[in-house]
Symmetry: C2
């Protein structure tokens, strides 16, 4: 439970002309202190008033930086006692909204996607999940996803055509769909609800995944929402039970 003097932590380098907010610059500096191993778990972290003086900013700014790190589990605070370094998380930060590609990238695995179908369709059941009207036009994309050339999942994604009417084939198929929507259409993605169940593989799924029928698979359904709370995407996935497991981080 020792404390590390601030003057051993190098010179602060805040750029007050930068468009990046001060609290964010400070947050990243503090994060680097933590992840560089200068602190051990349960070590005393510098008090807010010390940091205030060190960075020459107001306490509110410090509190925002420290507060976000605490929210993300890097630090914990105890009233009257102080602020301490938490034990590092074991798993890759998850339970966040990431695409299959991003997820795999974090684990350094070679992924591929083979497109089985791409086009505009109408599907009353899916349309009703995404909007009020049952004959909304949908962009449908069916893919087989592989890791190291071995098929692991079957995925059917439906995006409301109204939110991205001229979405190019390329951008949807390659790269991150979410990133495309955010940069090209200015959409902000909010959150998603996902259900996970275990069932036996159907015949046509088994063929595409290269497994025997009735083998256990993970069946997922996901509804993705914009920050306004409007649904814009529905995804149905089937993962091989023997090749894939999900990790979810639960908070508070």
């Amino acid at each position: 439970m020792m404390s590390i003097p601030l003057d051993q932590l190098g010179v602060q380098s805040l750029d007050r002309a930068s468009p990046v907010p001060l609290y964010h610059q400070i947050k990243q500096t503090l994060q680097s202190w933590i992840s560089s191993g200068r602190f051990s778990p349960q070590d005393r972290f510098p008090a807010e008033r010390e940091l205030e003086e060190f960075f020459k900013v107001s306490r509110v700014t410090i509190r925002r930086a420290v507060g976000e790190l605490a929210e993300e589990g890097y630090l914990y605070r105890e009233q009257g006692k102080g602020c301490f370094v938490a034990r590092p998380r074991m798993e890759y930060e998850l339970g966040r909204l990431t695409s299959f590609t991003e997820d795999m990238k974090g684990r350094a695995l070679r992924t591929k996607a083979h497109v089985l179908h791409f086009g505009v369709v109408r599907d009353p059941d899916v349309a009703l999940r995404l909007a009020e009207s049952e004959d909304e036009e949908l962009i449908k994309l069916v893919r087989v996803r592989s890791i190291d050339d071995e098929p692991v999942a079957l995925q059917s994604a439906y995006v409301l055509r109204s939110v991205a009417h001229d979405l190019a084939d390329r951008s949807l198929i390659e790269g991150s769909l979410y990133k495309t929507l955010e940069t090209h259409y200015g959409l902000r993605i909010g959150y998603a609800e996902q259900t996970i169940e275990s069932r036996a593989a159907a015949d046509h799924e088994a063929v595409l995944l290269g497994i025997r029928s009735h083998t256990p698979v993970l069946a997922l359904e996901r509804l993705t929402y914009l920050h306004t709370g409007e649904a814009f995407e529905f995804v149905r996935s089937t993962y091989r039970g023997d090749k894939y497991r999900f990790t979810v981080a639960l908070r508070r």
Copy 2:
């Protein structure tokens, strides 16, 4: 996209003598405005400066209340435009750390737990997941969980004895374990990591769950951490694939 005049929203009732922080009182008032249906989705929400004057508090306080509601998905803000009411979430707020009992309570289902085993054990594999030492004492509890008198899950929970050395049988078995730890031991629960996979039921599991062997089941493993980042609980569960599905809320 209409706006509702503040003077139609009733008198504010902040109690400045209350130990409940102002931002929290305001947050709850705003939340009641939203959930009472006075606003429709995408309605303009009162601007921060208006709320400031209405509640007679500073803007920082308003921002904290509004900010938390935005974080939780009730409101969304757009710079230069204003603050708006989001569409209400469909599913029960989940993806949070809840116990089986709490989870089911939210769905108004009758649950029961039949205890198969309860006692102190040593288990090197589990101990190493929870702590450095492999001969830590563990409190082990094995239960069959039922909904409407039908068995749906098999659950083995291990709690480090060192965090709750004199934990009474009753409190662990009935009621919420988490609540007991928080109120009686002053522990603060931080987060959990859960893995979910699909596999075939083993023979002994099939018997206890009343299903045929090799039927698909959901196999879960969960590590629960205190706010310090120290693991204190490990749970291994097996859910019937035909009777249970998981819902997870993913953020941002």
